[in-house]
């Protein structure tokens, strides 16, 4: 299944633009597992599970704008899941940013 097909099947969407000081900090935040863990999870679940049915319930795509804005596009199968994912991601990003603010060399 192509990744765009996956997004189109998910009716609920949310776009988040988060400003950072520089691209390096965005990279640290992404690498720290804010998005990557969820992405790994999606990659593992891309195939339809015979026992559970279609388990591709959410997708996150991200890109960087002007070297300092992290743009996240969240796609979900229902509104509750979308709220849950966005809340989790925002909390993790907040923790990473706090860490960067306090302990950057």
């Amino acid at each position: 299944m192509a990744s765009t097909d996956l997004y189109n099947n998910l009716p609920y969407k949310l776009k988040l633009n988060i400003p950072f000081e520089n691209e390096k900090h965005i990279e640290y935040t992404l690498k720290s597992g804010v998005v990557t863990d969820e992405l790994i999870n999606i990659e593992n679940n891309l195939k339809t599970d015979t026992a559970l049915g279609d388990i591709n319930k959410f997708v996150i795509e991200y890109h960087i704008i002007n070297n300092n804005i992290l743009s996240l596009n969240l796609h979900s199968i229902d509104i509750r899941l979308l709220r849950l994912i966005s809340n989790n991601i925002m909390e993790s990003i907040k923790l990473s940013i706090e860490c960067i603010d306090e302990f950057a060399p």
């Binding site: 690498k31 597992g33 790994i40 923790l95 706090e98 860490c99 060399p105």
Partner: protein
């Protein structure tokens, strides 16, 4: 015999010691610590800072993963700032995280997923930001290594008793082997859940409050005792006591005459039994005596099995003085020796994660990809290859 490869990576600035930060957050305690470990002796460790902040749920409730994770996220930066402040006081004001710290160790598992993940995200950011190697550590190994380091026990049988784990462990051929463990719930969880029935405060810990009440207990009531070979089971004893306590509380803190005669049957004197008033303190006392007797029994069997004469108690329940007293009696009868630590090192802390992490770092542990730092709720003690011991 060849020496373990403990100097594959040398300390920064050609010092004669390593500095390691440990980040722990597998349950309701958020603990960060900084240690200084000598190059020539891995058991020569000085604790530079050991800061802990505990999330306590209201009485009658346990701590929920989501609330605990939120607590950890809120406190991570403040706790680390305190660690750095203490490091600057002890190591000099020129202490610098990036230039001085050799590695950052964090708990990979076992534990509760959400709190583990919070600390993991923080550890990854800190590591990437300052370009310091990241070392994922098994929580149980952290307890064992810190216990060995504090007590200087050479090759003890380890009883690991906490809120999430109950294991009897011995070292053999580069693994900490599990000789016996709980078949259902952990001893700390058992104590916590009993404290919830009695609505005992969760501060500083439910187990500590039960211990204080048990000290005032005088009468031992009979409870189930479930040892199965090297393993033990505690859910039955808990359920029995929960039912008993609920009827005790609803009956105005009293048992019926018939019930009392059954609970104290071993006294064989009805007049004496009828004159006894069983109290909450007696329930706590009896509960502790039965649970700890089971632990002492499997520990003694493990000692006989591996031919050890030393016991090391680690984990949060390990700072219970009554458990230490019972274990010391058993060790004395076997001409053995008991090693135990106080609450600074028994209860989850960052220093123990740092101790295990720096040992892995010294042996040349290199994180190949960041995905290897993903936390896991099930991470058994014997999965770790212990290449820092002979």
């Amino acid at each position: 015999m060849t020496q373990p490869p403990l100097t594959k990576v040398l300390p920064k600035k050609n010092r004669d010691y390593y500095l390691c930060i440990g980040l722990e957050g597998s349950a309701n305690k958020l603990g960060f610590g900084l240690i200084k470990q000598a190059v020539n002796d891995p058991l020569d460790t000085e604790v530079i800072s050991n800061i802990r902040d505990t999330y306590n749920a209201p009485p009658g409730e346990g701590f929920m993963p989501r609330d605990t994770a939120r607590h950890h996220k809120n406190w991570c930066c403040r706790v680390l700032k305190q660690v750095i402040k203490e490091a600057k006081e002890k190591l000099g004001s020129d202490f610098d995280l990036k230039k001085d710290v050799d590695c950052i160790a964090f708990t990979k598992g076992p534990g509760m997923g959400a709190p583990l993940h919070s600390v993991c995200v923080f550890a990854r950011t800190l590591s990437l930001l300052n370009d310091i190697p990241l070392v994922p550590v098994n929580h149980c190994i952290g307890h064992i290594e810190m216990g060995r380091c504090v007590t200087k026990g050479l090759n003890p049988c380890v009883l690991y008793v906490s809120g999430g784990n109950t294991q009897i462990i011995a070292y053999s051929n580069n693994r900490y082997r599990i000789f016996g463990e709980t078949l259902d719930i952990a001893v700390g969880n058992c104590l916590d859940r009993f404290a919830r029935v009695l609505k005992i405060s969760n501060a500083p810990s439910p187990g500590y409050n039960i211990e204080q009440l048990a000290k005032k207990g005088k009468h031992l009531i009979e409870l189930p005792y479930t040892v199965k070979g090297m393993d033990l089971s505690m859910s039955g004893i808990l359920q029995y006591l929960e039912q008993l306590t609920k009827s005790f509380l609803t009956n105005d803190f009293k048992f019926s005459k018939q019930k009392k005669r059954k609970l104290l049957e071993y006294l064989n004197d009805k007049d004496v039994i009828d004159s006894i008033e069983i109290t909450v303190e007696d329930l706590c006392f009896s509960f502790q005596e039965h649970l700890f007797a089971m632990l002492v029994e499997i520990t003694e069997r493990a000692m006989a099995h591996v031919g050890a004469n030393e016991v090391l108690i680690v984990g949060g329940v390990g700072c219970n003085m009554r458990l230490q007293e019972m274990m010391a009696l058993m060790c004395r009868d076997r001409n053995g020796k008991l090693f135990a630590t106080d609450d600074r090192f028994c209860i989850d802390n960052g220093v123990m994660i740092a101790q295990a992490g720096v040992l892995q770092h010294r042996c040349g542990y290199i994180l190949e990809k960041l995905e290897d730092t993903r936390v896991t709720q099930t991470f058994r003690t014997d999965e770790v290859y212990v290449n820092w011991r002979e």
